[in-house]
Amino acid sequence: MMATITRRPSITRRISTFFYHYPGLSLFLLLLPPLAWLLIVYIGSLAALLVQSFYTIDPMSMLVKEEFTLSTYEELFTAANIDVIKRTVYLAAAVTVGCAVLAFPLAYYMARYANRRIKGLLYLAVMLPLWSSYLVRVYAWRLILVKEGVINSVFEQLGLGSVVEWVIDRPYIGGTGTSLASTYLGMFLVFVYIWLPYMILPIHAALERVPKSLIDASSDLGARPGYTFRRVIFPLAFPGVVAGSIFTFSLTLGDYIVARVIGNSVFYIGPAVSSNLSFNIPLSAAFTVVSVVIMVIYLLIARRLGAFDAL
């Protein structure tokens, strides 16, 4: 009895033997779910989007007319919508630069000067906001920026209320409101706050990879610290900056919440997509195609700048 059982290999054993003989098959089965996901969900939804953008809606009943037309793109490239696209790109670029300027010194300190403990603490501090809800943080910033909020009252206590007013009156960064909550500057601050960790971490990683020996060699050859920074450290860390900028740029480009809560109600690509979603899906899709195109261009530039060399 016992003998017959041990002589026949168990079913699991037979299955593993089968896969051992056909290694290609096991690889195929392993990759099937992610590939299916990628092809059907990712590429499929992008294709559906592209198709939708070539439809248009009947203006009265608002039903989508499923026939090929370029009229949605005609509508997309009216002056007002081009404003929306330009405005979004400018904002995303400004946020990216702002994040880079703030993130670099901190990442530099973390990578080159901080001891283990401080580095751990800083890491935690950088990551901490990512653990709480994005919405909560945006609404919290609203409370900070509004007229009865923290910033205004601190400045007024210090007798500097006119400084805030002066800032609000500036063109390009200001607005027409009574507080920073309805200015471009307010939106900029919130975006920089929200996406900063996505910039700090790649820069930090890039700086950590700069070999100490190169820096020593540079100073041995007579370079002053500033020169070493400009010619050795910064060029080596720059791909990290570009990698981080992909996040800050694309996340700002697609965001549709902040502009609804902070700022002066002008449209950006994100809100334009989300508000058209319930009304004019083809236009919504066309706006999304625009941001896809912008990101493709951005990624091509980033590749030339070496952002993906370390991958």
Partner: protein, 386 residues
Amino acid sequence: MLKKVFLLLVVLAVVVPTGFTYGSKQLFLQEGEGEVSIVAWPGYIERGETDPAFDWVTDFEEATGCQVNVKTAATSDEMVALMNEGTFDLVTASGDASLRLVAGGRVQEVDITRIPSWDTVDDRLKEAPWHFVDGKHYGVPYQWGANVLMYNTEVFPTAPESWSVVFEEQELPDGESNAGRVQAYDGPIYIADAALYLKYHNPDLGINDPYALDRDQFNAALDLLRQQREIVPRYWHDAFIQMDDFVNEGFVASSSWPFQVNILKAQGTPIDSVIPVEGATGWADTTMMHVNAPHPNCAYLWLEHSLNPKLQGDLAAWFGSVPAVPSACEGNELLGPEGCVTNGIENFDKIFFWKTPTTDCGDDRGDVCVPYYEWVTNYIAIIGGR
């Protein structure tokens, strides 16, 4: 290291924002009666979950065996989109959605003989043009109300008489300019508010119906709105953010709904509302039935129930609206004896109710009026400063 961080960030960037995407749009429905699904404004169909005193669903479900499923929609455009998807029985459509639904063939004629309480409906609403088309009834009136002028009583000791406080730069009674302290509604239908203002102040334009604007009238309204853009720092979109704007951000006047006014007043903030001399735009909502309603019998039962005086009065108290059934104004505990007057029942004639602008002007001008989709693109351009 860079590689790891990069991957980590990719994961975060993908995962983090998905926490606040919308819930599933489709409701799962079984074939057959025993339920009814309704697309409604938030707060329109309450089953006591927010406040146990406000419940007009439980009794209905017990009496009829029709389980009520509600899908809320935040804008008229969203309602039209949901109805276009199908699978719903009813929708509480405002006038700017109802005609679109009729034109798109998404709703069916309602047989009013199957609704015993039809006679109790306000006579002024029975054949209103936003649901009575070509001699056919496409729905049952539900509630109505006005887009009032909400103002801060500390800045305005007496109620402002004109909408000019939000349209034209001027010194307010507290000695400061209104620039930066007033708001407008973030919806294209607000162009009608500007047209209504011009109807009164610029009679030469010959505006009669603020929703049927020919090219010249439309352009004049846009000019007024461009001028308004200079003094409006932010357009209101979300009722609760608007309330916060009046409490924390120093806004003192705006078009608004009685809903916000009632809540702010209940909180003790110095807020009140008025309908200025120009009149006001408003909404009148109609419960309409989908052309392929899966549960027509339950839908008719709900249509009858929707005219129940208790429901009408409770809803008016809850939402700050006016009942479509005038008898609901009397003897309702939640609404109180003055509730209907507070919510504006006497203002009916001053209100120009939302309806969808179409090329057909509805008068002897013919098909020369500006259709709604142009309202949308132009309003987005104006908010964008163009």
